[in-house]
Symmetry: C3
Subunit: 334 residues, 3 copies
């Protein structure tokens, strides 16, 4: 829906250089922007595109404004400002209140009148669904789950049991929350399953990517704090605690009973072993895993970037001869 | 449901020191236990909590009994004993026999009268479902699948085709069993799909974690033996054999036609390449992968725990200069 | 269905040595083949099985024909020829045209009369489904998706929004295409979600494995080109481009905005960081990840195969002392 630059400027308290009556109706990259597009420049990587852009307006830092050939929004955080304005220019479709005729809802469940329950949703005993929350098609909500207001379970989401989700959360398809953790006691006759009796508690403004799994606690709960972002195919084991505003990129796995601090970031395919504590403000590099408590904020890494396979094979061979190399140096020292 | 310590003691043949008439109705950690809680002490990590616990009873080893301020169950395997007692104190809800009105069941399928078929389940041609087996909401059971007795498919499980599951298995949401394996023949015109014509055979007492996938065999079957435990987001490729009582932790991947022995354990994000054989009693460390046959039981590893990223970068640089270091040592030796 | 060797030979223009009237009705390995089985020998690994096989016919290279005790098809690509013949000998079951009574289809959707829409499928607004395309039970097709002809969504597939799939594609259960990418702008108050406004474009003859996820673009589309093969539990982030005939094995993850060339292959648990370009004909070894642009075709690696954990621990300790070893060599050189 077309909105004027002046409206956007006043809504977000953002300085506008240019025509407040100009309209935007979509968003685009600097290169692909048309005369109704809102665009942004957040780093220097695309600076050369700026003078050529045909956007209606560009969100950028003050120091880049001189090179901007079109209307400019000035912001110290152009990417965040873009995120907020884009949500207005290209709003999510509104899902109407009501329960689809095919949805199956336990009589003990309480669903807010403003909630949207889509086709083939199954809602079990004692579930509560808050105001304006939307549950997408094919989702299964098991017993004793609670969903706050303004949440969106996109489709085919499974909340198994005892999952409490606060407000403004987005849960993408294929996510499974509250399945049994991997609790097994070894005996001479084989594994004995350890009952998984806890739940999962998820804070406000959490987003959970497609096909991610979060297990219920064994005793006590698994906890995902406010503002956490989990990407796709992430695994959160039983009794893990993820601190507020922490972001875990795709395919990261956190083993059981580990506690992660606030504002941490794991790059893709990262991991952490179980039963450790990672402090606030820790960054973990791609494909790296944390094996013990981390008490100092900072960046941690343990992965090798790929190189030519033949030269890598030589490197591995040299690595394997390190012991004999050390011996040779010892001999030389004598 | 409250149960007396005496009942638990006699049911499991477990020695009780204390009041046989005392009741437990929940389970808890030593620290959080209340006067009706059953708790346990399995290692030394929580020994300092023992004297302060308010539990009704604690399951522990004989040597720890002296420090126990409350009733004590003596067991050489306190964690396994806890697992068994917890299943009695906090039993799974019973799912009533019957087929939900919304379930869609092929006329050639045979469903035992005691089976529980939940809402929106789809059961295809020639499927058999055994006594007391429960199939949770949204699950799809493809043609020619067989489920034994006392199995539980929690919800949104997909058995694609030709999947045979024995008795007492638990399959968590999002699991896909029997999808086509990754069989592709390269030609100058691109990949040609190789038909995947086998099935999947799963033994007794197997548990499979959320969003795990097990592919059907290309020719012949993929086999998961009795007592195997697969965590979440595990991948089992076509024609893999997993031996009895082996446990694969989260995000482990086993490539095609590999055979894993009995009682093996893979830690998280582990892996094995295809077409190899791993003997019984092999343990694989976190994020490590097996590249060739393993014939000796034992522990195998190949991962670096993360360290400070700057010091790691220096290590990687030193690693890359290993060749020149070896040359320098050679020169010194001359 | 039984088919004569002569029929197969003429259908595929394949030279037959032996009886054209002999029939095959199944496929099997050389070892397990019976008198109606079609088998193949593609490498030298199973050459010793050839003289003992009881197959009706074996597809093999000319140079192996002398050792073949039964009818022989001669092909320079025996595995690809097997793939094509097996699809005739053991055809996929035909899914009849029509829409199951339980399917829920938006009035603005257009479904071809020859399409097969299974039980509990949900099809949203403005969706188009092409001729002979089959959508399996429990699948959810979100708004503005388009499916070409002869596609097969096996079951429980989720296309979220704006997903365009061309012809002859196979999508396995649990796949999620078009979910929001992991777009978050950091602010002092926490993460702000960046609206994900693009779509996903998938070419012809693409196969996508179980529980794989492909996110929609942030601005612009995520693109999977013709003939691409994605295995299970693969993650394709927003705005990735995967070139034609590229194959990504299980658990591979490609981070946002990365472009992969044609005919690339990633082994299992591989990866690539975001915002890089990988040229055509690149092979990436198991568990390895690409951290920067690749401009030369070839094989790239960066993983260590697992070894005995004690010897590995010693290697890691030696690796950690590399700095002091370098210092010692420096001292010796002085």
């Amino acid at each position: 829906m077309p909105i004027s630059l002046g409206d956007l400027a006043s809504r977000f308290g953002c300085e506008l250089i240019g025509d407040p009556d100009a309209l935007v109706s979509d968003v685009a990259s600097l290169q692909n922007a048309g005369p109704k597009s809102l665009s942004f420049l957040s780093g220097s990587a695309y600076l050369t595109e700026l003078p050529k852009t045909k956007a209606a307006a560009v969100i950028l830092r003050k120091q880049d404004a001189a090179s901007c050939p079109v209307n400019a929004f000035l912001s110290e955080q152009p990417y965040a400002m873009y995120a907020r304005m884009a949500a207005i220019v290209c709003p999510e479709p509104v899902l109407p209140p009501g329960i689809h005729a095919s949805a199956i809802i336990a009589s003990s469940a309480i669903v807010a009148p403003s909630a949207h329950i889509a086709a083939n949703v199954v809602i079990s005993d004692r579930v509560r669904v808050g105001e304006n929350t939307a549950i997408g098609a094919g989702s299964v909500i098991g017993p004793d789950c609670e969903l706050g207001r303004d949440c969106h379970l996109v489709a085919n989401v499974t909340l198994v049991k005892r999952v409490k989700i606060a407000n403004h959360c987005v849960i993408h398809p294929g996510v499974v929350i509250g399945a049994d953790g991997f609790g097994n006691a070894m005996t001479p006759e084989g594994w004995v399953k350890v009952p998984q009796l806890g739940g999962v508690i998820i804070g406000n403004d959490v987003e959970i990517g497609a096909n991610t799994t979060i297990d219920c606690g064994a005793i006590g709960d698994t906890v995902i704090d406010d503002g956490v972002r989990l990407d796709n195919l992430v695994m959160i084991a039983h009794n893990v605690k993820v601190g507020a505003h922490t972001a875990l990129a795709g395919m990261t796995g956190i083993a059981g009973s580990t506690t992660i601090g606030k504002r941490c970031m794991f790059a893709g395919q990262g991991g952490a072993v179980g039963h450790i504590t990672i402090c606030d403000d820790v960054i973990v590099a791609a494909k790296s895993f944390i094996s013990k408590d981390i008490t100092e904020p900072g960046t941690y890494a343990a992965s090798f970037p790929a190189e030519n396979a033949k030269s890598w094979a030589k490197q591995v061979a040299r690595f394997r001869r390190l012991g004999s190399l050390i011996d040779r140096v010892k001999k030389l020292e004598k």
